[in-house]
């Protein structure tokens, strides 16, 4: 029984949310279309004269293109391996009876709360000793281990809801074990695995602490770290607009993923918190 007044209140609240969430993104986009010379001279939200110059600059800068390749490669590999590992654990937790189940879940929870920076010093030394410093695996390994907790909870919450009896039902109907698994279980499990993959990818894509601590060259340096160092480099020319163009480039995939898979991400992030 919503009255007209409260209906309008909800609409106003929704509109306010839209402005609050989209505005900073829009601001970065606007900055990326400004001429570098405009910074410090013409202030304001909209560009004075629109230009693609910054995007050209960014894609001509090896620092950025190398970082982009690193970010994409490292994040995808870490996501793939992480989700495979998490799927195995989550399957075991949802379906098998074995000692240490609770311990594994508690351990994963502890890792999720861990202050990452505490480990950076020792990892820095260890990676230098064994030759992983400033390499792709040097980032992939920590990304996997810190993305695993979220993936494990999401997947075990999800797998618990799968009606596993359907597998036997299919076998009773004459399907082989493999057919039952592939035709019945895989389609049921795929959405959960996919959601876990999105969340893991976001985690890797967002990382900054490992990115700046465990790399030193564009050999493995991911985009967020490259952006932060890009600022400090030029004292005389404002890199503001170029940084924003680079920021827009790495934000586009995120926006696309959010637009396409909004429902899955919400389900994934809330599944761990809802009982049953």
């Amino acid at each position: 029984m919503e009255s007209t007044r409260s209906k309008w209140l909800w609409i106003a609240a929704s509109a306010l949310i839209l402005v609050w969430t989209v505005f900073p993104i829009l601001w970065i986009v606007m900055l990326s279309f400004k001429r570098p010379g405009e910074i410090g001279n013409q202030k304001g939200f909209l560009p004075h004269a629109w230009t693609f110059e910054n995007y050209r600059t960014v894609f001509r800068t090896d620092l950025f293109t190398a970082a982009l390749v690193n970010s994409i490669g490292i994040s995808l590999i870490a996501t793939f391996v992480g989700v495979v590992f998490a799927t195995l654990v989550a399957y075991a937790i949802a379906r098998l009876e074995f000692p240490g189940k609770k311990a594994i879940l508690s351990f994963a929870l502890a890792i999720a709360m861990f202050p990452v920076v505490s480990l950076v010093g020792p990892l820095f030394n260890l990676w230098r000793d064994i030759g992983l410093y400033d390499t792709w695996p040097g980032l992939i390994i920590p990304y996997i281990s810190f993305a695993l907790p979220l993936a494990i909870w999401t997947l075990s919450a999800f797998f618990r809801e799968i009606p596993w009896e359907m597998e036997q039902a299919a076998q009773v109907d004459g399907a082989t074990t493999w057919q039952a698994f592939r035709k019945v279980i895989v389609p049921l499990a795929a959405p959960g695995v996919f959601t876990a993959a999105i969340l893991t990818f976001f985690f890797c894509w967002n990382d900054f602490v490992f990115g700046i601590s465990l790399t030193s060259t564009d050999n493995a340096r991911p985009v967020p770290a490259a952006l932060a160092f890009f600022t400090g480099e030029s004292q005389f020319e404002q890199p503001t607009t170029a940084i924003c163009a680079a920021a827009v480039v790495v934000t586009v995939p995120v926006v696309v993923i959010v637009l396409l898979f909004q429902r899955r991400i919400v389900a994934g992030l809330t599944s761990g918190a809802v009982k049953g």
């Binding site: 969430t21 074995f98 505490s118 010093g121 907790p149 503001t240 809330t270 918190a273 009982k275």
Partner: protein, 312 residues
């Protein structure tokens, strides 16, 4: 595969199993085998470095002078704990954590209510709320920094603040840092709260309405008490996340103007100054502070974490 099992794991009786059959032994082995890769990776990246940090924190040791390494016991901890800079950084971290978590709890609750109740453009609202969650923290930091910056920003122009230099004062810098942190992480807290809201039985609210309760009374007496667990879990997670704030500070002020945080201090000592011994001591203190916060929440407020991790 254990396709022959008839009951799903959750419903299986645990008691009454006297003998361990070959089947269940095989099941145990498979369970441990499937869990092994994930557990090994998590241990490799956390347990060994943590023990290593504990060990090295007892030495006076700089990477630039490895031969001067010597055992100093707890002296590094003494140095850190008696340094006013350490306590200044802890205070900064505490203020940022307290402010962001408090503000996010209120905004996040509002967002959750809108997502829960919105009749209009529900999909659009949810999508919009997820955007900041997906945006890289460093990019959020740049967006807010440039908005308040004297060279590029529009904020001073819009609000008639003239030449007010946000980043040359401690509290004004922290204000912008908190804004970016709040913008980026409120979606997460609001989704956890949304999950909690969904658990509040609808008929309870309806019954209260019939009994003449106002919307405000319903919120305070029915909704919030019924989602207390979800609220505590959300606060715990966000508190520990805010406590390790690093990215926003790095991009906006690089710790200048007394805005350095606990994480930033650890980073600066270990990576920038390569003062491994002292840096690891600060890192261990950071770790202990996180354990303490988690313990206070779990023991003190009785946060039911089984809710989060989903085991029953």
């Amino acid at each position: 595969m254990t396709a022959v099992d008839t009951a799903p794991a959750a419903g299986r009786p645990r008691a009454g199993r006297v003998e361990i059959s070959d089947r269940s032994r095989a099941e145990r082995r498979l369970g441990l085998l499937l869990s092994a890769p994930a557990v090994i990776v998590m241990l490799l990246v956390t347990a060994y470095p943590l023990v290593n940090a504990l060990y090295l924190s007892l030495f006076s040791y700089r990477l630039t002078a490895p031969d001067d390494r010597r055992f100093v016991g707890l002296a590094n901890y003494g140095t850190a704990l008696s340094d006013p800079l350490f306590w200044q950084d802890v205070l900064t971290t505490f203020v940022v954590t307290f402010v962001t978590v408090a503000v996010e709890l209120v905004i996040g609750f509002g967002l959750a209510m809108v997502m829960h109740r919105a009749l209009f453009a529900r999909r659009t609202v949810r999508t919009a709320i997820l955007l900041p969650y997906g945006i890289v923290t460093v990019i959020s930091a740049f967006a807010w920094k440039y908005a308040f910056d004297l060279q590029s920003g529009f904020v001073n122009g819009w609000f008639g603040l003239g030449d007010y230099a946000w980043f040359s004062g401690r509290w004004s810098s922290l204000f912008v840092i908190c804004l970016s942190e709040i913008w980026k992480t409120t979606p997460f807290i609001s989704l956890l709260l949304l999950a909690g809201l969904a658990q509040v039985p609808r008929d309870l609210g309806e019954a209260a309405t019939v009994d003449g309760a106002t919307a405000w009374q319903r919120l305070l007496r029915v909704t919030i008490p019924n989602m207390k667990a979800a609220i505590l879990v959300a606060v715990l997670f966000r508190t520990l996340d805010a406590w390790r704030i690093f990215d926003n500070v790095f991009v906006m002020t690089a710790g200048q103007e007394k805005t350095e945080t606990f994480s930033f201090l650890t980073y600066r000592q270990t990576i920038t100054r390569t003062a491994i011994g002292l840096g690891d001591a600060v890192g261990v203190l950071l770790f202990l502070s996180v354990v303490l916060i988690a313990a206070v929440f779990i023991r003190g407020f009785r946060v039911d974490l089984s809710q989060v991790r989903g085991d029953r």
